[in-house]
Each structure stands twice: as structure tokens, then as C-alpha cells.
């Protein structure tokens, strides 16, 4: 990097927060995505939005690319910078600006950790539902930029359903305000949904206002054991068809169960093919009925054992264990490549079948878990990056899985984003006109192409 630009950037954030030594740069070239790495030219940790704006305008003037990063936990390579670009990490911008109990909104800086917001709003009897598996480290900015889902997506939706207002630094350093605290707003194009899930390619969020809802009064957490995987899948569709909408309806297969139990020791069954983690929440009377309905459906679908968490502590343990699934799978083999194919809920059983067949055909081990209630499974290939042949077979298996997902009317990624990892599959899904419109949008926001270049399209 040009040393005068570096000096300017140092002046903006302070030398302590402008890193350019080899060692620092080397560890800002990865995120949680396997097989991808780069080397940025500088890493900046601004303290507030104005600093971000100045950074972007200086970089734009110098033609240097900017990749914004929260905690670097995304799974599509979205925070991996261009070689020679600048990384802007938002962690220091971690203030919860306001929790507005009258309007039921929270306004935060982008570096706020998701579960820190949960804690603050829940202390006031309020609720911010999106809870990705990574919530104790993921940032709100990352969640918005990826439109992250979570364990409560089935009933409560995903991040996009809660974003009301954004403050975004555009590619020239200007500030764009969209939405706000009003619940209705039809003035002009609706830009919020466009910015949500833009993966750092359209602008950098410096302020985020989200909707809050009252905290559910009570919840019941259950675990159903299924000797046959297909029965678990059919139970998922049956629960939804019975018009019961649990907050959580998570699936774990045998491989995943074993790995999670190895780490978490929460008493998961090691002798069944699958478990469903189910949580219903709301009014105590209603959830008692819902829990009864769920129990009956699971039993009808040959679940061998059905357990109900005896208290909040046990419920929390089960949910926490589920959140470790992806990382726990990495206990078995060093490299885990996971996918995020999502299908209409009624197709879950068919999708599981496809995954099993693909694993067999290409001779790879796949552990599957995920947000079954959302039709969003994470088949995870357990492999070793030092074995190129196996890696190749893993990718072949995923090709089959993607094509099947698209054929079922599903999508290549439900919540992890396109980033670098899924870029080549996007045209297959959205078609030529889809790509053209997306290119046009990128062009309108960032004609120079300096914001997180090379991602998505």
C-alpha cells in the first residue's frame, strides 16, 4: 500500500488501530469459510461512523478496495478482502445506542455482538429473536449483511424481518439513511431489504435500528429421538402441516449427535439416527397444547423416546449444544465444508435422501444438521484439506445437492450468503436476468467497484 495513504488512514483511526504489520495482515485474510484466504494491505478498527466515512472516501479517491468485517464468522468468504485492499473491522463500534421501549426498537452500532443485544433487551422484558448459532460472537452488522437466520427462524423469521432502519456509508463516503422507527413507510423505493443481505458490497452499515417484540412468557423445550432419519423428516413436515409453529425445530443426524455429545456432554442419544430439538414458546396455556400436539406427532412418526427439558437450565444446555454442531463436527476431520441448501419445508425428507445418496456415490462423510423447520439443512462434509482427491469428491457431492435443491424450488443458500464460495452457483439459481439486475444495482451503488469487490456477482 502507498505509504502516504497508510499515513492518512492511521491519522483517521489512530496508529494503534491501523495495523499493517505482516503478522496482523496474515490473520485478517480468513474467516470461517474453509479453503479461502487472502492478504489485505491494512486493517483498520474505526471507533465510529464518521471515521468509517472518512476511510471510505479516502480509499475511493485512491482506488483501494474496502472490505468490512464484523467477527469474521461468515461461511461464504464474505469478509475475505481483496489482496491489497483494506479491511475495516467494526468491533470497536459496539455501543447499544438506545432501547426505545415506547416504540419497541433498538438502535445499535454495527459491532454490537448479537447475544449482547439479547441480554440487554431481555432484561427489559423485550425480545430480539434472530439467534444464529454464532450469536455469542457474530456482530449485528454481519447479521444484517448476511440476513442471518437462527434457531428461532421458523416462528419468528430472520434478521430481515426485524431491520427497520439503517445508516449506511456509501461507496463515496456519503451517509444514506433508510427507514427508521416508523412501522409504515412507502416513500420511494424500499431500500432496506436491498441493503440487508448485501454482504458488504453496497455500503457499510454504521447504525442499525431493529424491531423488538414482547418476550414470550414461557417456553417448553423438547427432544425427540428417531431411530429412522426419514421419520424425523416426515415428523417435521407433519408438525407444520398440523398448524403448530414451534419457535425452534432443529434437526441433527447421527454423525452430528455424536460429535456434539463428545463436546457438550448433555446426554444426547448415541444409538438413534436423528433427533429433533423442538421449542414452543408463548402463553403457558397455548404452549402446553402445542407441546402435546408435537409429542403426539412425533410418537406417530415412531420416535423412540421423547424428553421435555425439566427447567430453563436444561433447555439452555440443549440449545447451546445445538449451536456448537458445526464446530463440533470438525472434531472428526480437520476440514469441514458445509452447505446451506434450502428447500420448501415439505421437501425435507426428499432432500435428506439426496444428501445420503450423494455422500455414498462420492464416498465422503457428510454430517447433516440444521433448521429443519425452515427447510434449511447444513449438510457438512468432513474431510481433510491435505487430500485433494477427497476435497474434489466433496465438491462433486455438493453439486448434486445444489442441483437437487434448485430442482425442488429451493435455493443454494438460505442464510450463509453467496460471498466468494457460492458465486459460481448464483447464475444457475437467478438466471441471466437475475444477474443483470443485480449487476445494475451494484453499479448504481458502487460504480467504482471498491466495496468488497469480487463477492456475490
Amino acid at each position: 500500500m502507498d505509504s502516504s495513504l497508510l499515513k492518512e488512514l492511521q491519522k483517521i483511526v489512530g496508529t494503534e488501530y491501523a495495523l499493517s504489520d505482516r503478522e496482523s495482515l496474515a490473520v485478517y485474510g480468513y474467516d470461517s469459510t474453509p479453503e479461502l484466504e487472502s492478504c489485505p494491505a491494512a486493517v483498520l478498527l474505526p471507533a465510529h461512523g464518521e471515521e468509517v466515512a472518512t476511510i471510505v472516501s479516502r480509499c475511493a479517491a485512491a482506488g483501494v478496495s474496502v472490505t468490512v468485517r464484523g467477527s469474521g464468522t461468515n461461511l461464504s468468504g464474505g469478509s475475505i478482502s481483496h489482496d491489497g485492499g483494506v479491511v475495516v473491522q467494526t468491533s470497536r463500534m459496539n455501543r447499544i445506542i438506545e432501547i426505545d421501549e415506547e416504540n419497541l426498537t433498538a438502535t445499535v452500532e454495527p459491532g454490537v455482538i448479537t447475544s449482547a443485544l439479547h441480554r440487554q433487551v431481555e432484561a427489559r422484558g423485550l425480545f430480539y429473536p434472530p439467534d444464529p448459532g454464532s450469536m455469542h460472537i457474530s456482530t449485528m452488522g454481519g447479521n444484517v449483511a448476511e440476513n442471518s437466520g437462527g434457531l428461532r427462524g421458523l416462528k419468528y423469521g430472520v434478521t430481515a424481518d426485524y431491520v427497520m432502519g439503517l445508516e449506511t456509508i456509501l461507496a463515496n463516503g456519503d451517509l444514506l439513511r433508510t427507514g427508521g422507527k416508523v412501522v409504515k413507510d412507502v416513500a420511494g423505493y424500499n431500500l432496506n431489504p436491498l441493503l440487508v443481505s448485501s454482504e458488504g458490497t453496497l455500503g457499510i452499515f454504521t447504525g442499525i435500528t431493529v424491531k423488538l417484540i414482547p418476550k414470550p412468557q414461557a417456553k417448553i423445550t423438547m427432544l425427540a429421538h428417531f431411530p429412522a432419519m426419514s421419520d424425523a423428516a416426515l415428523a417435521v413436515s407433519a408438525i407444520i402441516a398440523a398448524k403448530v409453529i414451534p419457535a425452534t425445530l432443529e434437526f441433527l443426524d447421527k454423525v452430528t449427535i455424536k460429535c456434539v455429545e463428545d463436546y457438550a456432554h448433555v446426554g444426547l442419544p448415541l444409538d438413534v439416527d436423528a433427533v429433533l430439538l423442538i421449542e414452543v414458546d408463548g402463553h403457558p396455556v397455548v404452549i402446553a397444547e402445542e407441546a402435546a400436539a408435537v409429542t403426539e406427532i412425533c410418537k406417530k412418526h415412531r420416535c423412540s423416546f421423547f424428553q421435555t427439558a425439566k427447567d430453563d437450565g436444561e433447555a439452555l444446555k440443549l440449545a447451546t449444544a445445538r449451536r456448537t454442531a458445526l464446530s463440533a463436527l470438525a472434531r472428526l476431520r480437520p476440514t469441514t465444508i458445509l452447505e446451506d441448501a434450502t428447500v420448501p419445508r415439505s421437501c425435507i425428507a426428499a432432500m435428506l435422501q439426496v444428501i445420503q445418496e450423494a455422500a455414498k456415490k462420492y464416498d465422503v462423510t457428510i454430517g447433516t444438521f440444521g433448521h429443519a423447520g425452515d427447510g434449511n439443512l447444513h449438510p457438512t462434509c468432513l474431510t481433510d484439506e491435505r487430500d485433494p482427491d477427497e476435497i474434489k469428491r466433496a465438491h462433486q457431492a455438493f453439486e448434486v445437492i445444489f442441483d437437487a435443491a434448485i430442482a425442488m424450488g429451493g435455493t443454494i443458500t438460505g442464510e450463509h450468503g453467496v460471498g466468494l464460495a457460492k458465486k459460481k452457483y448464483l447464475p444457475r439459481l437467478v438466471g441471466e436476468s437475475g444477474v443483470r439486475v443485480m449487476r445494475g444495482i451494484k453499479q448504481a451503488f458502487d460504480p467504482q467497484g471498491i466495496l468488497n469487490p469480487g463477492k456475490v456477482i
Binding site: 503478522e23 474467516d31 474453509p34 467477527s71 460472537i137 464446530s327 463440533a328 470438525a330 472434531r331
Partner: protein, 420 residues
């Protein structure tokens, strides 16, 4: 360095919120994920083992909170320690001071005790007060002044010299225990170790404290002296093999963690057998919780517990200390927020990295203050030193005790401590 241990890190970031130095800095280089990546890049030849890189790694506390948090079984703290240790050996081994301390002093309890004698004299003659009063310490190099500030009042004599080798069981003997008396426990916290012995004997154990046992070797590991550690392991294994004991018990978290690892240091079957017998005092006491409950007298105190890293993260012991505290009648137990977060002591870290250590300590003190507890209980000498100093400066009304000290108070006195 085992390459597989490094590539097992899948960079999920689940460890980041648990790492004290990441929490303070938000820097990837100060995170477990970043540290593993740095080491990996050196072993793969992508980075040199530069001064700066070593500096980044040296900021690691080796608290192993990351290991507890890592679902895939990576232990960044241990990898850093191993890497630094290997690096040291590669650079031609120990320097003069390290050799003097690690090889000539630490492995010989009598020499270690003699070397502490001047300090004891210094405190007892009132010289300490004078020095502090006159601010003479300001003239000394900072690390020395810090060390002085950490030092609580020393017992008149090290415990090792005072106790007899065998303490008989009270009542019918249920078994015998080999007591591993940690150096710092003996030299500084002898009351706590005395309490440990008395509790065990009250529960019917004969307690044997071999006088010739040597330092567990943890300081050697810390200083990058693997050979010294192996020597310590050999000596201790041999000494304890001479006694018929059910358990080898220690009340020092750091010693316990190290003793339990002797089996891994390639010291053979005898070492593995030794390690399998090692227990933290809380583990043994918890085995007899029912009987202990009958012996304990009320203490109407609000108490909280700080998990030492060497107990919670390295040995996985969390339930037992809490269970034991809750046995004391009328005691009100208040869980500490982030109870298993490091206090910043971490061996010699509080002297080597004063600034980071103080920031980490401050967080701990804040949680102690908001717990409202009158007594803070913990069970590792490093934590006792660090927190004692912190409390004295900021929360003088909060007392700090080793777990066995509080249990003994409850065992002995009607009400030894004043209710808060």
C-alpha cells in the same frame, strides 16, 4: 509441533468471546483463532518467527478458556505454550537467570525456602512498612516493585518445615492420601494447606506429606524448560511410589493441572499411574459431601466463587467447589458473573504484562463488586495473590479465602467470621 492440532482449528470463532485478551483488544492477533493461525503460518513457512510474532503470542495468558469453549477440541493456549517452549529450546535453551531459577532454585525446596528468608525478614522487621512509606520502591525497576506489591504477609515458616510427614486420621481410618504441597502454598498460603490437611483428617484420611517432594515443574514449562519439567515429574513420581495412598491430593490448581499431565510427558507407565491418582482437594471432599454436611457449622455469609483457570479450564472442575460451599449452613451463595474468566494472574503474567493483567483484573473486580459478596473464595495461589492485591486496593471489605480455609472455619468455629 503437531500439524494436525493446528489444522483442526476450523476458524469458527466460537472461542473469541471467551478469550480475555481478545475481549480487551478485539484484535485477531490477540485471539485464540489468530494465535493458532500465526503458529500454523510459521510451521508452514509462510511467516518467520519474528520478534513481533513472539510478542503477540506472549500476550496469551495460557488460561485455556479457549479450550473449554472450542467445540472441535483445539487448545490454543496449550499450542502457544508448546510453541514458545520449543522456540526457546531451539534458541539454545535457558539464559543465566532462567537457569539459576528454574534449575538451581525451584527444584530444591530447601534452597527455595532459604531464598525467601530475606523477604520474610524484610516483612517481619517492619522494613517493609518503612520502604513502602518512603516510596523507595519507586526507585526500583517496575517488575520488582510490582512483585513486592503482590506479596501478602508471609507465614513465619514455610508449611513444609512445620508439618509432620504423617497426619493421622481422626476417628476410624478410611484410607490414606498423599498430599502434594505446592511451593507457593507452602511458602505463602500455608494456612490454606494446613486447612486442607485438617479437613482430610477430619474425614478419616491419614495424610502423608513426603518431605522430599519437589516443585511440580509448572514454572519450568512456563519458562520453556521441558527437561526441567521431566526431571521434576520423574522425582515426584518416584517419591510418591514409595507410599500406599488412595489419592494424591493437592489444593493448588496449578500443581493439580500439571501433575495430571505427568502421564503425557512421556515419563512412562508409572507417571500415567501417578497422574490417574491425582485429585484436586475439592474432588475428594465432594466424594464425602454427605458426611461433611453433618460436620459443618453455620456461617451466615454471602459468598461467591472465582473459578481458577487451572481448575475449571485445565481440569474441568466446576461443580465440586460450588457444591461444597453450598453445604455450609446459612451461607448464601452468589454466583459470580463470568466466574471462570481469568483474573489476570496467570503465573508470572501479572509481572511480565502488567498493563493487560490490570485490565483483566479490573473486569474481575467489577463483577465481584456487583455480586455483593462479603467473601470471595477461590482455590489457586496465583489467583489468591492477584485478587488479594486487587481487593485490598479497591474492595477492602471483601475477604478472600481458599476454599479449604472457609470450609475449615465452618468445621471448627461456631461463628468464626462475622456475618456481613
Amino acid at each position: 509441533m503437531d500439524e494436525v492440532k493446528l489444522i483442526n482449528c476450523m476458524r469458527c470463532g466460537m472461542c473469541l468471546p471467551h478469550c480475555p485478551t481478545y475481549r480487551e483488544t478485539f484484535l485477531e492477533t490477540a485471539s485464540p483463532r489468530g494465535r493458532v493461525a500465526l503458529i500454523r503460518k510459521v510451521t508452514e513457512g509462510e511467516l518467520d518467527q519474528s520478534e513481533r510474532l513472539l510478542e503477540y503470542l506472549a500476550l496469551c495468558l495460557d488460561c485455556q478458556a479457549c479450550a473449554s469453549a472450542c467445540p472441535c477440541g483445539v487448545n490454543a493456549g496449550e499450542l502457544v505454550a508448546e510453541f514458545s517452549c520449543e522456540g526457546k529450546a531451539g534458541q539454545g535453551g535457558l539464559n543465566f537467570m532462567e537457569d539459576l531459577i528454574l534449575r538451581k532454585l525451584v527444584p530444591h525446596p530447601d534452597r527455595l525456602e532459604t531464598s525467601m528468608a530475606p523477604l520474610r525478614l524484610y516483612q517481619r522487621t517492619g522494613l517493609q512498612k518503612l520502604v513502602r512509606h518512603l516510596g523507595i520502591l519507586k526507585m526500583f525497576p517496575k517488575p520488582l516493585a510490582r512483585m513486592e506489591g503482590l506479596l501478602p504477609a508471609l507465614p513465619a515458616r514455610p508449611l513444609r518445615q512445620e508439618i509432620s510427614e504423617v497426619t493421622e486420621a481422626i476417628g476410624p481410618e478410611r484410607g490414606s492420601i498423599g498430599f502434594f504441597l505446592g511451593c507457593v502454598m507452602s511458602l505463602i498460603f500455608s494456612d490454606a494447606s494446613r486447612a486442607t490437611i485438617q479437613l482430610l483428617s477430619a474425614l478419616g484420611y491419614k495424610v502423608i506429606t513426603p518431605k522430599n517432594q519437589v516443585c511440580c515443574g509448572a514454572p519450568n514449562m512456563l519458562g520453556g524448560d521441558l527437561a526441567g519439567l521431566q526431571e521434576a515429574a520423574r522425582t515426584n513420581v518416584e517419591i510418591f511410589a514409595g507410599y500406599e495412598v488412595d489419592f494424591i491430593v493437592t489444593d493448588c490448581g496449578g500443581c493439580g493441572a500439571e501433575l495430571k499431565k505427568y502421564g503425557h510427558h512421556g515419563a512412562g507407565e508409572a507417571a500415567a499411574e501417578f497422574s490417574a491418582r491425582v485429585r484436586d482437594i475439592s474432588e475428594v471432599l465432594a466424594l464425602h459431601a454427605d458426611e461433611l454436611a453433618l460436620l459443618l457449622q453455620p456461617l451466615a455469609l454471602k459468598v461467591t466463587y472465582h473459578d481458577p483457570c487451572h481448575i475449571a479450564h485445565c481440569q474441568g472442575i466446576r461443580r465440586e467447589p460450588r457444591q461444597l460451599l453450598k453445604l455450609i449452613p446459612e451461607l448464601s451463595y452468589q454466583e459470580l458473573e463470568a466466574a471462570d474468566a481469568c483474573c489476570g494472574s496467570a503465573g508470572t503474567y501479572n509481572i511480565a504484562r502488567p498493563e493487560m493483567s490490570d485490565r483483566i483484573l479490573q473486569r474481575k473486580l467489577d463483577t465481584i463488586a456487583s455480586s455483593g459478596a462479603a467473601v470471595l473464595v477461590t482455590s489457586n495461589p496465583g489467583c489468591l495473590l492477584q485478587l488479594k492485591k486487587g481487593l485490598a486496593e479497591q474492595l477492602p471489605n471483601v475477604r478472600i479465602l481458599h476454599l479449604t480455609e472457609l470450609l475449615l472455619q465452618s468445621l471448627r468455629a461456631p461463628v468464626a467470621l462475622k456475618p456481613s
